[in-house]
């Protein structure tokens, strides 16, 4: 049964339970999120970048002198090609570009097939909302990828950060160390005896989501049409598409309330830790859209940050 709208569900749930329909307010000690601008480059010069966003509007941003850019590797912002899809971390109410990621993509899924000898071609099952995708691991990156993914075999998990080059996704950097178990054998969560804690800590990652928000693993399969949902190695409670999650980046304190917009059926299968600032508790608890991830202070190239989520 498809959900209709995040806002409508929140209003209806609030009416039934007599609670406040407003999204949870952030407290004073929550850091202010960055502004994130996403879109396609229309023009770029050493000092100015013009981007067309999803709504068709033009955004003009001044490029800060200390700004850096990434497109398969560090590049000068002025060298980014016109037409590249970018995510920009912006300051001053979204007018100054500080960090630019161009054509970045996240390649997370279960390996279905591996072919090729020099350049590897991997078919990934990326979950219900992304389907299967064929990706290429170029020879120059295969060493780094293989070190962190020793089991490049069907049935095992794969997670890399890459770049879309001419429509073809290239895996360039390993995003995590590959879990030693198969995707179908996720370790069970530790038993919880006294209900669920109101705050749960773990790893937050980013992914290519269709809209701004988060993908959450513990959704009922009957509500989402995602047969692989409801798997997590962390004791996460069941929520729904449209529920609001409070996500806090533990590393730099920025926090935001974000809606659940997709089923995190692949996210829940990773029991890894994030080492961004100290060692996070085991398990991925949430997958953010690239824009939301950047707003909370994450670096798309690092792939994760230590996070704490609150419920509603």
């Amino acid at each position: 049964m498809p959900y209709r709208s995040v806002e409508r569900r929140r209003v209806l749930a609030a009416a039934a339970l007599g609670r406040d329909a407003e999204p949870p307010r952030l407290s004073a000690d929550d850091g202010v999120p960055f502004d994130a601008v996403t879109g396609v480059i229309l023009d770029v010069s050493p000092h100015l970048i013009i981007v067309e966003d999803a709504a068709g509007g033009q955004r003009r941003l001044v490029i800060a002198p200390w700004a850096t850019a990434w497109r398969g590797g560090p590049v000068a912002p002025a060298d980014l090609p016109v037409g590249a899809r970018v995510v920009i971390r912006a300051l001053k109410a979204g007018t100054v570009a500080e960090r630019i990621w161009a054509d970045a993509t996240r390649l997370t899924g279960t390996i279905k097939a591996v072919t090729g000898r020099r350049d590897l071609t991997i078919v990934l099952d990326m979950g219900a909302h992304r389907g299967e995708r064929s990706i290429t691991v170029p020879y120059r990156s295969s060493g780094r990828i293989r070190v962190r993914h020793p089991q490049l075999e069907p049935g095992y998990l794969f997670d890399a950060i890459g770049m879309v080059d001419g429509g073809a996704p290239l895996a360039l950097l390993p995003a995590t160390s590959q879990p030693p178990y198969r995707a179908a054998a996720v370790p069970p969560p530790p038993p919880a005896y006294r209900g669920v804690q109101s705050k749960i800590s773990g790893t937050a990652v980013w992914g290519d989501l269709p809209e701004r928000g988060v993908a959450y693993p513990m959704l009922e399969t009957s509500d989402t049409g995602c047969a692989d949902a409801g798997v997590s190695c962390v004791g996460l409670p069941y929520l729904a598409l449209g529920s609001t999650l409070y996500v806090r980046n533990v590393c730099d304190g920025r926090a935001d309330a974000l809606p659940i917009v997709a089923c995190g059926c692949v996210t829940g299968r990773f029991c890894d830790r994030c080492l961004e600032c100290g060692t996070s508790p085991r398990g991925r608890i949430v997958e953010l859209s690239a824009a939301a991830y950047v707003e909370l202070g994450g670096d798309l190239i690092k792939g994760c940050f230590n996070a704490r989520i609150g419920l509603g």
Binding site: A15, A16, L17, P179, P187
Partner: protein, 271 residues
């Protein structure tokens, strides 16, 4: 006296061997926790790729010994369990000395606690019981024929002794008692819908509904929400609590533009 003890020991040995064999096969066959087999039983002393086959061979051996005790009327079928339990006693003692961190794996993953004196003593008691069976040459037919009060007392004594020496008992009881909180339990929407339709809130609002099939439903924590189209474009939303025999059901009539109508005062409940 010894023949009575031997007659009582035979079913105990058979049950222990069957339980141990089946539990080991289930643990080795399940691909659950990664590295779990690397912390269970004497097989950890073998290289990693042999751990699973070693556990399966041990399980098959135990099942074979149990079958031999029941069905084979030959002294070898009585003395093989003696050798098995004697070796097991020595191996557990050696395991405790060489790998104090691993469990005995006697009953699969339930025996994950590090090997202690109780596990070793239990293996020794089972060795003694197997010796009694072997010396007396007890068979399954004799056990059935010799049921008496003395037999029952011996059986009870052996069972109590083994239970007292089983560290798995506490673990098994804890697992049986454990029930996940309702926020973590998958619960089918059909059950919540049937509970909703049996509630007084449903009977109160049924006349307002245009359709009795939900237009939308979702779950948050312990609440499942059902939305039904109502007259004049409004919607009735029901919230059903997912725990308990007679769960709480809340309802509200919501107009298309958002705010709830004042048909029923909603009760403040935190989800």
């Amino acid at each position: 006296m010894l023949s009575t003890i031997a007659a009582a020991a035979l079913p105990v040995l058979v049950v222990m061997l069957l339980l141990g064999g089946v539990a080991k096969i289930v643990t080795a066959g399940g691909d659950g926790t990664p590295g779990a087999l690397g912390r269970l039983g004497p097989a950890v002393l073998a290289p990693e790729r042999f751990v699973k086959p070693a556990m399966l061979i041990c399980a098959c051996g135990e099942l074979g010994l149990a079958a031999g005790l029941i069905a084979v009327d030959h002294p070898a079928a009585r003395w093989l369990p003696v050798a098995f339990f004697a070796v097991a006693t020595y191996v557990l003692q050696d395991l405790r000395r060489r790998r104090p961190d691993v469990g005995c794996g006697c009953f699969g993953e339930v025996s994950a606690a590090p090997v202690g004196v109780r596990s070793i003593l239990r293996a020794a008691v089972l060795t003694a019981a197997a010796v009694a069976v072997a010396v007396e040459g007890t068979t399954g037919a004799e056990v059935v024929a010799g049921i008496s009060w003395a037999f029952a007392a011996s059986l009870g004594g052996i069972v109590v002794l083994l239970l007292a020496l089983s560290p798995e008992l506490e673990e098994s009881l804890a697992r049986l008692r454990y029930r996940a909180p309702c926020e973590l339990r998958p619960l089918p929407p059909e059950r919540a819908l049937s509970r909703l339709r049996a509630s007084s809130a449903w009977r109160t609002h049924a006349v307002l509904l245009e359709s009795h099939e939900p237009a939308d439903m979702w779950r948050e924590l312990c609440w499942r929400f059902f939305v039904f189209p109502a007259r004049n474009g409004a919607e009735v939303v029901f919230a059903v609590y997912l725990s308990g025999r007679r769960p709480a059901v809340r309802a509200a009539l919501v107009t298309p533009d958002g705010p709830p109508a004042s048909l029923q005062e909603s009760m403040p409940v935190s989800a």
